[in-house]
Amino acid sequence: MISEIIEIKKSLENEEISCSELIDYKLDQIEKNIKNSTILPITSAKEVAIKIDEKIRKNELLNILDGVPFWVKDIFLVEWTKTTAGSKILENYVSPYTATVVQKLLDSWAILVAKENCDAFWHGSTNENSHYWPVKNAHNNELVSGWSSGWSAVNVAIKNTVFSIWEDTWGSIRQPASYNQVVWFKPSYGTVSRHWAIAYASSLDTVWPIANTVSDIAIVMDIIAGKDINDATSRAKEWSYKEQLEDMDRKGKKIWYYKTFLDEKILDKKIFEDIEKTIKECEKRGAEIVELEAFDHELLVSTYYIIAMAETASNLARIDWVRYWLSIKDVKEIKELYLKSRGQWFSEETKRRIVLWNQILSQWYADKYYTKARVARQKLIEQTNKDFEKVDMIISPVTANKPPKIWETLNDPIKMYMSDVFTVGFSLAKVPTIAIPIEWYSALQLSTAYGTDQTNIKYAYNMEKLIKW
């Protein structure tokens, strides 16, 4: 099993490196590349490392995540640290609470080293919308890193961190996987608690890990998945992810790929060839390949945007000066206060979404469009459930092209929005999806039925081995 987490555990147990040395090294890396973190690194990381070293000196058994450094996207609340969501308006917000997912990792003695920058309220497809600075691709610093989670992808790719925890709404974890060559896993909706994570679109948000291998994803999922009484949509974990990784017989497995997604005219040549080659390799090993038409592309993207943007506009209503300690002077009345705080400190992309999409929630537009979008989503969920009665997994590309140059797509929102076509359907259908890198900017997206997260990771583990042909 290739696992960076297990390698660290062995190195600590064999005293090849102390936990303090490991954390100092990671903090040095952050200092050299500070623009990949929003806020300052966390000092208590060093104090936790000292406790782990004491444990090793006393020959105590180490748990799987003892002393393993990790980062979180700056949308998860962590007690007494700043949580900015990449925005100016929350620049000084300090949380008195810790998100359930982070607490579970801290309770496992993983070490939180820093929090990661992101597009402000993760509005954007390219990580150029952060209040702080754009994120550059891990392999080419003239190119974008990927959707709002690109920061994490870069940090994992350049080994600033062993794994990161992020939140995905429409595919923001999967596209950067291909752009930066790391593994990302979006579980079924409700697999991991969203408690004290800043919401984007509540009916679509899922919390998930990013790492360099599928094995590391399984190890982290074992810790973070499960029922949380503070998140009514969370589900109980039924069995171990790591124990599900044993070899799988591909013979007899039915793999479905969307005919319309695997089109030479749409896809970059390398992406097309890599996906086609993977499908042929699966067929050679006994898998049955089924070719089907996908849900209408334009309908998918339209449904997603109407639902997600209406929900994000609603969620953003709570972000104002009053609750989040932004310094506004010379304000005479409440309207002026709102105009000055929300008007000045929200990014252009955030304001664009608030203005346009709040309109969707008004009575007439809600009946005409929002309700119709919810019907379209329900149709998609029912269709996807039926499809997974016929096939075991669906293979698809993550993105159509190589990453664009920084600032290239910001002036064309439609182009930016349409780049989501390969990922939004699975988010709307709430099913688990994983992205495994094949080569730089080319990745395989593998989806399974709702609630089969362990099966998804097992297939991905075996597919990861197959891809290294």
Partner: protein, 86 residues
């Protein structure tokens, strides 16, 4: 109905490009009929049973507010110094 149409809102300087987004509404309109809404209405309604509703746990705000002021993290050199180990 509100005072502004989507078309009017799209004319705001920084929202001009959003005119293109109106295409999304045309697509939804073309694909989903009134008949679909009637057929799916019960399945898309979010209904919560009375017995599913639980009382929220509340905390003493005065204590939490004092804690927030006392525990506010400070910048210490190149690090953020938190008041407790996290």
């Amino acid at each position: 109905m509100s005072n502004f149409s989507l078309e009017e809102l799209s004319l705001i300087e920084w929202a001009k490009e959003q005119e293109k987004i109106l295409k999304f509404f045309d697509i939804i309109d073309a694909h989903i009929t009134e008949n679909d809404i009637q057929n799916y209405w019960n399945r898309i309604r979010n209904v919560i049973a009375f017995e599913d509703i639980e009382r929220d746990d509340t905390i003493n705000d005065k204590i939490k507010n004092a804690e927030i002021i006392e525990m506010f993290p400070q910048k210490e050199g190149k690090y953020l110094k938190t008041p407790k180990i996290i």
